[in-house]
Amino acid sequence: MKKAVIFSMVTALVMATVAAVQAQQRDGISIVGSSTVYPFATVVAEKFGKAGTFKAPKIESTGTGGGFKLFCGGVGIQHPDISNASRAIKASEFEACRKNGVTDIVEVKIGYDGIVVANSKKTPALKLTSKDIFLALAKEVPDPKGGENLVANPYKTWKDVNASLPNVKIEVLGPPPTSGTRDAFIELAMEPGALKFEPLKKLSKEDAKKFTKLFSSIREDGAYIEAGENDNLIVQKLGANPNALGIFGFSFLDQNTDKIQGSFVDGNQPTFENIASGKYPLSRPLFFYVKKAHVGVIPGIKEYLAEFTSEKAWGKDGYLSEKGLIPMPDAERKQVAENVKATKAMTEVK
């Protein structure tokens, strides 16, 4: 008898906890999304939280695609309020959002990130072109003997690729296919590189699908080594192997300038100034997306947006630039900040 009472009490307690938890109002912002935006968003979140008025937002690094999946899950406290992205939202994702009732989304572009191809300081910096990068890393390249045939990548050393490059083995450590950095690298370096070849240019017009497959297939014969999502690991490996190159985000170069250097790409080195001015070709915009239905419901979203888009955060000398975010030009910043202030929702995906 006594035990039955205890048992029913425990059951009731568990049920009550579950009910209480479900009914509870969330008092902090929940953010998901890109691991590239993560280091910047976390800095803002921390400053925002330590200012004392609101709880610091919780930020999960789920990757851009994973972030949108959660973000577009619906409206309500169990779904995140903001999704960070290292690329613009895709039409399919926008559609998925709408289907689940997430109709009003505010897009906030926050600045640029550079992708660097770096090597150890023990050897001289490489002067690459997008054509070299394509030839060194693509799975199939135009036949070096001429003609329109495609052959499996025959290049073993950088000198094979381009006579002005040193005679060392091609060895590139880079992100795996799940990474947004790899997507951006393919789009910014491999595609323009492939377009330097006349036959491929023709192919891009005739059969866009086949062309896309061509430039986005990275060789799998050991010259390109998938090093996981951990950029620190790549930096460490570059220190140990002076002949290897690594592909990662600019902030890791910025933090390790004593050990590694960025290769020139199309004549420009990845410096803060070169990326900001657009001279360095491998740079991409970063975004975050806000669920408008949550603004005003979850406390602090408006204030978090204001903090992120303030000059002391994303401005030229702001604290985000210290962490490696490349600020947008003044006019663009002003424009985006105004949109954010008015929480202007996007109407369609460009």
């Binding site: 938890v21 976390t42 919780k58 962490k323």
Partner: protein, 431 residues
Amino acid sequence: MNNTLSPPAASPPRRTIEIVNRSLKRRYRAERRFRFYGLLAIMLSVLFLALLFASIVGKGYSAFWQTSIRLAIFFDPEVIKKDTLVNADYAALVRESLFKRFPQVEERQDKRQLTSMLSSGSVYRLRDMVLQDPDLVGKTAEVWLPADDDMDMLIKGHFRRDLPESERRVSDKQIAWIERLEAEGRLERRFNTMFLTAGDSREPELAGIWGAVSGSFFTLVITLVLSFPIGVAAAVYLEEFAKKNRWTDLIEVNINNLAAVPSIVFGLLGLAVFLNFFGLPRSAPLVGGLVLTLMTLPTIIIASRSALTAVPPSIREAALGVGASKMQMVVHHVLPLALPGMLTGTIIGMARALGESAPLLMIGMVAFIVDIPKGFTDSATVLPVQIYLWADSPERAFVERTSAAIMVLLAFLVVMNAGAIILRKKFERRW
């Protein structure tokens, strides 16, 4: 054949003792070799363990010290007004004090470099001081403020001073200022209390593990409270009451299977059941504890069952023989004897749960959380996740903090496993 002339070794042995004596040397040799292999295996494991510890401790011990700079701060009543105690411009106080100490620094660029030598966290330190003791306003106090992580790395020797200026993150001027502060006794490596008491931060010098430790604590409390009673009850029923038939066999196979399932699978299950179906909050230790309960349950059930089988049947028979009911026999006699073994299994299961991060990924506990969790439904992360997040951060100073966090995790694991061994040694009975 001439028997007398041939040497004895060549003749075939006739007596057993001769056969034994002949092979004795070889057998001794084989035994010595066998022992040596065993010793070698142990030595190799110890060597790897020593290497692991040496590399972690070697990298991580310095994180327990943090470079700090002592400044004379004037708590200017002009800056801190009564109604703005919380959000007064404390950074201005730090700037003012620095510029007073280095009056020759005039250019804007240099001033920026000078102020960047101090951590952005010094502002919060000053704010907390004033909030604790509002009488400070109007007075001057000598305050130790944390230095920026770049300065910290320079002092700890992780940045080389002999490199050209463009290749290091600390400028020549800053090095000169640092050296002057050092000479004046205003720069010191002090014990890093921040590391043990603060939550996560993106500034290495402000980052601490207390948030992760509390998260781990809340998660493990849930895991223990749920998995121990359920595990023991399941084991007792299966071992003492259940009939041996096809159903119990099936259940046993499934429990053994579950113990070997990769932990990420439990995370997926947690996502589907606890988050999507029951609507429990993301990133909460409550859900983390539930998921880890699923993961540790098989371990505890298996350990508890073997503890129960180790209790000799004579005890059961004696209890039944003097008229105890089956439940009395289990509760009064078998369970107390099996409990040390069950506890050992539980502690080992808990230790595994403490080191687990993969299942927590799916339920949102791999996240940047500044605030220290205060309850079971606050957003939280756990120790191994904190290690993973720091290992992934670009700032150099996080390298030593990662290793230091591993040291803390290892310390907890060692304490738990040692506890398991002590329990076993103290209460275990052999028959």
